[in-house]
């Protein structure tokens, strides 16, 4: 029995050592970048057009129960009025914010695009994410800031990219990360404050926009062609439209989500 027990103890210690030396989830998500195809080509700036439009909500935005921040006194004190989840945010005349509009289909895979040098910022303010939805390109830096005087953890749970979970105490430096692969609607959570939720969209191309309270969007620099444009809203899901643009042409496209339907 003693020998068996020694073996068991050794196995347990070995397992502890493996876990102790194992990779941390806090490591950078430095995965192999998307390689350009052999026949890579760039967009001809002289012929590009654009798609512009607005996103609206048909009907009244659903009423939401205010967030209960009593679990964290700092968060509760940070707001003088009750905060509702920013699931459906509307502006004047039903303009819908936090909608991601992007080219879903129709773009040649041969095009290559430079990764933007500027970082996209995801802020934690008043124990809420600002903005609620962000979009960026593969390899582009996402910089996560903590403006709160409380600890957060930032935990994206992607399916196609590497998951990471990193803590950020008050006053800590921004956390810089990136995503190697295109992926839609990556949920981001703070497990310390379970009401904190956000979404990250990662694209291989620069043809995307996130609407603000005016509901407007513009996809600039599109080469001539026929495209499927998708508008994604957290509660109502995706809606697609097909649009054909010629050289130097600008086409208007509008999306309307029904308040009491899926909008598909």
């Amino acid at each position: 029995m003693n020998i068996k027990f020694l073996h068991l103890t050794f196995a347990a210690l070995l397992a502890f050592a493996i876990v102790g030396c194992g990779g941390s989830k806090n490591e950078s998500t430095s995965q192999p970048a998307n390689t350009a195809p052999a026949s890579a080509k760039t967009v001809d700036a002289a012929t590009v057009g654009s798609v512009t439009g607005t996103v609206n909500l048909d009907g009244a935005a659903p009423s939401a129960r205010p967030i209960n921040m009593s679990a964290e006194p700092y968060c509760a004190k940070a707001h003088s009025t009750p905060i509702v989840p920013p699931e459906v945010v509307t502006g004047d005349k039903g303009a819908l914010a936090n909608v991601v509009v992007f080219v879903k289909d129709g773009l040649s895979a041969d095009y290559t695009f430079d990764t933007p040098k500027n970082a996209v910022t995801l802020d934690q303010k008043g124990c809420m994410y600002e903005p609620h939805v962000i979009a960026l390109m593969t390899g582009q830096t996402i910089s996560v800031k903590n403006d709160d005087q409380t600890t957060h953890n930032i935990h994206p749970t992607p399916k196609d990219n590497r998951e990471w979970n990193q803590s950020q105490p008050p006053g800590a430096s921004p956390i810089d990360q990136s995503f190697a692969r295109a992926e839609l609607a990556i949920p981001v959570k703070c497990n310390v404050h379970p009401w904190m939720k956000s979404y990250i969209f990662v694209f291989k191309h620069p043809y995307y926009a996130v609407t603000t309270k005016d509901g407007k969007f513009e996809l600039k620099g599109l080469p001539p062609g026929t495209y499927t444009i998708e508008a994604w809203q957290e509660k109502y899901g995706p809606v697609d439209q097909t649009v054909t643009i010629g050289a130097k042409e600008s086409k208007p496209v509008s999306f309307t989500f029904k308040a009491n339907a899926s909008g598909d």
Binding site: A12, V19, S24, K25, Y74, E87, V192
Partner: protein, 349 residues
């Protein structure tokens, strides 16, 4: 579970003693029964401070119930990833106790306390207990608590694969019933010599109780899998129907044949009470889960009902384990009965 495992772990001392007395000529069978029954053969052996050991085993079981509750609170409050490092928390021994960190940290603290209790219990049993299998069971509990800590570490450091979380929940139940078994075997009832009861009818009570325990255990795995997103609700619902069948069948057989045996009667009442409560809690928890899907954060009814469902599920398993252990302690195995009959026949000829 195989027959050999069943015999080696749970066979009654009285059964092997009776078989030995009745079968002096059947050496091979006798040797098997005697060997496999050696654990119970020492049931009347003296151990140092038996009452204290028993109380300490009960304390460990009670602390494990708290640990199960703490773990369930972590899951229900979606706080499993609120502390991204292990073994430290935010690089400290005591992290900032805010939001979900409180649940995760409390879970770690209770787990550490249970690990210490288990270590003390294992060492105590190793020094004071003279039944080899009870000592081994103590070390098994310690090994399980180590494995469970490692699984928890994997869960923290390598994300939330539903499989790891489900295994973590499953090992928790195995550890819990191990502590229950230790409390049982260290009790006066688990130690004293008891004349065996006969059970020649079909189905035999001992395997029936064992199968009921296994069905409940599988059902808890299915529930953990649903809770952690490994699979849907359907397997858990089918499992509930299966458990209902086994609990009802076991109850009927126990009442018909051993209704007047107080230990079996009490264990059966406990199993029925916890299982009935669990069915009601299951319906309520499902309603709470369905309602909470649209919520931005875990609601109070969701947390209370799901935690209660997990906890009572563990108590159902514990009740069934107690019933099974009582049956194995009190009822002579049918194999021994048939061997006895054959030996008697040989002697007459």
């Amino acid at each position: 579970m195989s027959l050999s495992l069943r015999h080696s772990f749970l066979d009654g001392a009285a059964a092997s003693r009776s078989a030995r007395r009745a079968l002096p000529a059947l050496n091979s069978r006798h040797a098997i029964l005697a060997g496999r029954g050696s654990f119970f053969e020492m049931s009347n052996a003296q151990i140092q401070n038996p009452t204290a050991v028993h109380r300490f085993a009960i304390l460990t079981s009670g602390a494990t119930v708290l640990l199960l509750m703490a773990g369930a609170l972590v899951t229900s409050n979606d706080a499993a990833d609120s502390v991204p490092d292990w073994p430290l928390a935010y690089g400290k021994i005591i992290p900032p106790l805010v939001g979900g960190i409180r649940y995760e940290f409390a879970h770690r603290v209770v787990a550490a306390a249970v690990a210490v209790l288990t270590l003390i219990l294992a060492i105590w049993l190793a020094r004071a207990e003279n039944r080899r299998m009870v000592r081994r069971l103590g070390w098994t509990a310690l090994a399980l608590v180590v494995v469970q800590a490692l699984l928890g570490a994997l869960r923290v450091r390598f994300g939330h694969p539903p499989v790891v979380a489900t295994i973590h929940a499953t090992v928790a139940q195995i550890f819990f019933i191990t502590t229950i078994a230790l409390a049982f075997y260290s009790s006066p009832f688990g130690r004293r010599e008891i004349p065996p009861l006969e059970d020649s009818a079909s189905p035999a009570m001992r395997p029936l109780a064992l199968w009921t325990t296994l069905a409940i255990f599988v059902q808890l795995i299915l529930g953990a899998g649903f809770r952690h997103g490994a699979f849907g609700i359907l397997p858990h619902l089918l499992g509930a129907a299966l458990v209902l069948f086994f609990v009802a069948w076991t109850g009927r057989v126990a009442k018909e044949r051993f209704g007047k045996v107080p230990e079996i009667h009490r264990a059966m009442v406990l199993l029925h009470a916890t299982f009935g409560t669990q069915i009601l809690l299951g319906i309520a928890a499902y309603w709470a889960v369905a309602k909470a899907i649209q919520e931005v954060q875990p609601t109070v009814p969701y947390v209370i009902l799901t935690v209660a469902h997990v906890l009572v599920g563990a108590l159902v398993l514990a009740s069934s384990v107690l019933l099974t252990l009582c049956c194995f302690r009190l009822i002579r195995p049918q194999a021994a009965v048939s061997v006895t009959s054959r030996a008697a026949g040989t002697a007459i000829r």
